[in-house]
């Protein structure tokens, strides 16, 4: 890497002693690039085996890569930690401005250790870290927290404010960290870890310049990539309607999880489609820093105050496919306005929108079946489609109002272990299900992916590309493994996965060369496997066993577009995936 590239600087922060220091670690980046590669190495160094996720020794690691601040659509920051939700590997990526700000503040990674005695927030800029008293912010919603820090601190336009809401403070294991109001470190409970550390927010401020090996080459490559990105049809699709464009096609295929996946088609799908949102509610489109696509879609929701006529508030709420699925079809809500109300509450409490919806879906079915009653629900009677009841339940979950809601605050895997209903608890490796019942590919990704996320290897897209006859466990496992390996490099860059059709191995190799990294395509593939196996080793050391993963009965009962799914197929896929992860290790 280049001698004067600040990427090599790792910022260490100790919340207990309120001290920070910078270590220059060029070899760490030369071997692992950045992002997922570097963060996984730092996590291995920092996180002891056998600790509880709330232990002060559980670190928060943020990492960016060489492409951030240099190339378009390289807009993500990687967070790594031991997940409060699964107790195992925690990894979450967020867009917004955080990656640009961290990179241009002059750091490649931040390691946050320890636990503060009082609530604090951090300001991280080129001169290091300022520890600010956050006692006055504790208990505030995500938006109120953002507003307070925005007005208190300088650097508008050059900063990113990562913060948690009440759910993170009480330790809901799927609470998230919100950045720039509309982007999230959504999954696996980074918010709860912030809360355990008494860390209310992190404000990143940066605006430096970045060196390149060859200025002319840099500009030429930049222009070429921007042109290719703009010509990609998928990107236009996501710019126009956003990811919500997927609602109708998935519904038509019979792959849209509905009412806790008892069905796969939602009769009100059109009312919650990207088209409906765009026509009736879309008010603004936004982009992450350095992204030509602008996939962020904000809806304007006008709601009247009931105590006074002609008195309204207008709220801007971002929507995407996954939150719409989880808080729409999955819980039988067929109104876009209803979904927005739920998302607004979820965002302000600082919950993960996907897990929240799946938790509500499970709770509804558990209530229907009499596994829990009004004593547990504090008098509420959840039923599919009932937005007002769900809004109240979300508050109870965030504040963990009683034993039942405290169980819901730990996700469906835990709640069902306490109250029954495991067959319809839709979680994979402890993480709630994403919005795809497309076939074997989707579920094998949910099971095998290192984060148990649909984004780990995108199996849902292979379900749509391949016919059922073409798919065998062997073939699918190999395809998904290769895809997950490739995505380790993409997220070491750190590039948004939406750029994947342009940022292939060959392009990434050229991108990294501009920052003085010498990786040929084969080197990148080898490194991708190494990173993936490192993450797998982290999980294995903490008791993870791929072949023993629970497969929710419900996904085998509800017919997918590829027919009724057989457990044996998935078990074979898991065994092959395991052998791929363990070969050469």
């Amino acid at each position: 890497m280049l001698k004067d590239d600040p990427l090599k600087r790792v910022l260490y922060v100790d919340l207990a002693t309120k001290k920070f220091w910078v270590e220059e670690r060029p070899e760490l980046f030369e071997e692992n690039i950045g992002g997922t590669g570097v963060a996984s190495k730092l996590l291995e160094e920092e996180c002891p085996v056998g600790i509880d996720p709330r232990d002060p020794k559980n670190p928060i690691i943020l990492a960016v890569g060489p492409a951030n601040g240099l190339f378009p659509i390289a807009s993500k920051t990687v967070a790594m930690f031991q997940s409060p939700h699964t107790g195992n590997l925690g990894e979450s990526h967020a867009g917004g401005r955080s990656a640009t700000c961290l990179r241009l503040a002059g750091y490649g990674a931040v390691v946050i250790r320890g636990q503060s005695d009082i609530p604090v927030y951090l300001v991280i800029d080129r001169s290091g870290v300022k520890f600010r008293d956050a006692r006055a912010l504790w208990g505030l919603s995500v938006s109120a927290t953002g507003r307070a820090i925005r007005e208190k601190e300088t650097g508008s336009g050059l900063r990113s404010i990562l913060r948690i809401g009440p759910a993170g403070e009480t330790g809901v294991t799927y609470s998230c960290v919100v950045t720039e109001t509309y982007r999230h470190f959504g999954r696996l409970g980074l918010g709860a870890l912030f809360g355990a550390k008494k860390l209310k927010a992190v404000c990143l401020v940066g605006r430096r310049s970045l060196p390149v090996t060859d200025r002319k080459l840099y500009r030429e490559l930049y222009d070429e990539l921007l042109k290719r990105l703009r010509e990609t049809p998928a990107l236009k699709k996501y710019h126009d309607l956003g990811t919500a464009v997927n609602v109708i096609p998935l519904n038509e295929r019979g792959a849209l999880p509905t009412r806790n996946l008892r069905q796969t088609r939602f009769e009100m799908a059109e009312k919650i489609s990207g088209e409906y949102f765009a026509e009736h509610l879309l008010s603004r489109r936004l982009a992450c820093s350095h992204c030509p696509m602008a996939c962020i879609h904000l809806a304007a929701l006008r709601t009247p105050y009931e105590d006074e006529p002609y008195f309204y508030k207008t709220t801007f709420i971002s929507y995407d496919y996954e939150p719409i699925y989880a808080n729409g079809s999955m819980i039988g809500v067929g109104s876009a306005e209803g979904i927005l109300k739920l998302l607004d509450t979820i965002d302000n409490l600082g919950l993960d929108a996907m897990s929240s919806g799946v938790v509500l879906a499970w709770a509804t079915e558990a209530f229907e079946q009499g596994l829990v009653g009004e004593e547990e629900t504090l008098g509420l009677r959840p039923r599919f489609g009932d937005v007002e009841t769900y809004l109240q339940m979300l508050h109870h979950i965030a504040y963990q109002s009683n034993e039942f809601y405290a169980a819901l605050a730990r996700g469906v895997a835990y709640a069902s272990s306490r109250y029954g209903g495991e067959d319809f608890a839709l979680a994979f490796g402890g993480n709630e299900m994403p919005g795809y019942h497309t076939g074997y590919g989707a579920h094998l990704t949910h099971l095998t992916g290192s984060r148990h996320s649909h984004l780990d290897s995108g199996g849902y897209s292979y379900d749509q590309k391949l016919s059922p006859e073409e798919i065998t466990p062997e073939k699918l496992a190999h395809i998904l493994f290769d895809e997950e390996v490739y995505r380790q490099i993409l997220s070491s860059g750190v590039c948004c996965f939406f750029g994947r059709s342009v940022y292939n191995y060959e392009t990434l190799s050229r991108i990294f060369k501009v920052s003085g990294f010498d990786f040929e395509v084969e080197d990148l593939k080898a490194l991708g496997r190494k990173i993936l196996r490192r993450k797998y080793a982290f999980k294995k050391a903490r008791g993870f066993e791929l072949t023993k993963l629970k497969i929710p009965r419900r996904i085998l009962e509800t017919v997918s577009p590829h027919g009724k799914l057989e457990e044996e197929f998935l078990r074979q896929g898991l065994a092959i995936y395991k052998s791929l992860l363990e070969s050469g290790a």
């Binding site: 200025r215 350095h290 030509p292």
Partner: protein, 136 residues
């Protein structure tokens, strides 16, 4: 001479491609030398503001420069003579639009030269390079 014009900030999506483009004039990455800034109007839901030099015919920044480092540009605005600049920052305070930025590494102001390079990268027609005087 041409000048840069913010046609419609309400079309801005906040991608900051203009800022990165401005920096790339120097051949480097980042935004230290970006003479155009995009920021929210107090939280991103309220929309975005594009802050850049308007090419004043009588620039207040040049008027306060104690060392003649800001030379009035034909067509409006100023050109910085870096060797003459003392880094005092008076120009930055004088600009009503807050369109003079600061490079912390060089300790000197960063001011739009109205080349229009950023406008070529704006995906949503927020910026345009326009012929004639800005205040004409």
């Amino acid at each position: 001479m041409a000048h840069l014009k913010v046609v419609d900030p309400d079309r801005c999506v906040g991608c900051q491609l203009c800022m990165f483009a401005c920096q790339r004039r120097t051949g480097e990455g980042g935004i230290a030398e970006a003479a155009i800034h995009v920021r929210s109007r107090g939280g991103i839901s309220r929309g975005l503001t594009v802050v850049v030099c308007r090419a004043c015919e009588e620039p207040p920044c040049a008027a306060v420069c104690p060392n003649g480092a800001l030379i009035k540009r034909k067509g409006g605005g100023v050109v910085l003579a870096p060797k003459k600049c003392l880094g005092c920052g008076l120009c930055r305070e004088a600009c009503t639009l807050q369109a003079i930025f600061w490079n912390e590494a060089t300790g000197k102001p960063v001011i739009c030269m109205h080349c229009g390079y950023c406008a070529q990268y704006c995906p949503h027609h927020v910026l345009v390079l326009e012929e004639g005087h800005a205040q004409g």
